[in-house]
Symmetry: C2
Subunit: 140 residues, 2 copies
């Protein structure tokens, strides 16, 4: 099979190019794409447990824990003990993170527009749903 037909090669090369661009844009705000993922979860859902964040981002608990550690050091999130269940930790976005929300969401929209600029709206939807199918197959 030619490399340009191999789905692992195509996904690795396209992910790498999008990730590099996105990382570079987000670095102005001193955050990473993975940290944006966490903020997106918190902005869309309100406070969450680390387990809920991992489920939304399809990440292992150990990966989530490492990302949250760095975000806490950088004052982007707070971890509090749930007053209703003292064995549960609740993660919330800080004011510092919330103040950057508008600018960061503009970067996300710009990045999506840039890389999908040659696709019609129908083609964009199809690409997204086909990538989602690949993700689902991996979870089975």
């Amino acid at each position: 099979m030619e490399l340009k037909h191999c789905i692992n090669y195509l996904l690795s090369a396209s992910q790498n190019t999008v990730f590099q661009y996105f990382s570079q844009k987000l670095s102005d705000y001193n955050i990473t794409p993975a940290q944006y993922g966490v903020l997106n979860c918190l902005w869309g859902n309100g406070d969450l447990t680390p387990k809920q964040i991992g489920k939304l981002l399809l990440l292992e608990a150990s990966s989530v824990s490492g990302i949250l550690d760095r975000m806490q050091t950088n004052k982007l999130i707070e971890r509090k003990i749930d007053p209703n269940n003292r064995r549960t930790i609740i993660v919330s976005a800080t004011k510092k993170a919330n103040d950057m929300r508008c600018a960061i969401e503009a970067i996300v929209v710009d990045m999506n527009n840039k890389f999908l600029s040659q696709l019609s709206d129908m083609e964009k939807d199809k690409l997204r749903s086909n990538l989602q199918k690949i993700i689902e197959i991996g979870r089975k």
Copy 2:
């Protein structure tokens, strides 16, 4: 923007799931997806310089050099000095690598079939060409 619509998230999650599966299958032969990329170039084109390999795989010279080092240690490739140009290094696949070719190519076909099983032939072509468009945009 919802995370499930963000192209960085979709590519990262789909690449991660395909890469994990592919890595696990290739580990039976003690090679990585990146090393398979190099072998694919050599099998399709014959002997190549490290620069030519980097161009085909869209990788920096330093990354190619690291991959080749590990492949040479593992006796998958040889580096020779080009007799026609003593400043040029030529990389070739070893007999050990060539003996695994059939089995490794079967893994690649199986992996592509698995993750693209829900797509028609036309949808597969479209997905590949749209990922190729994303790669090209990143190279501009």
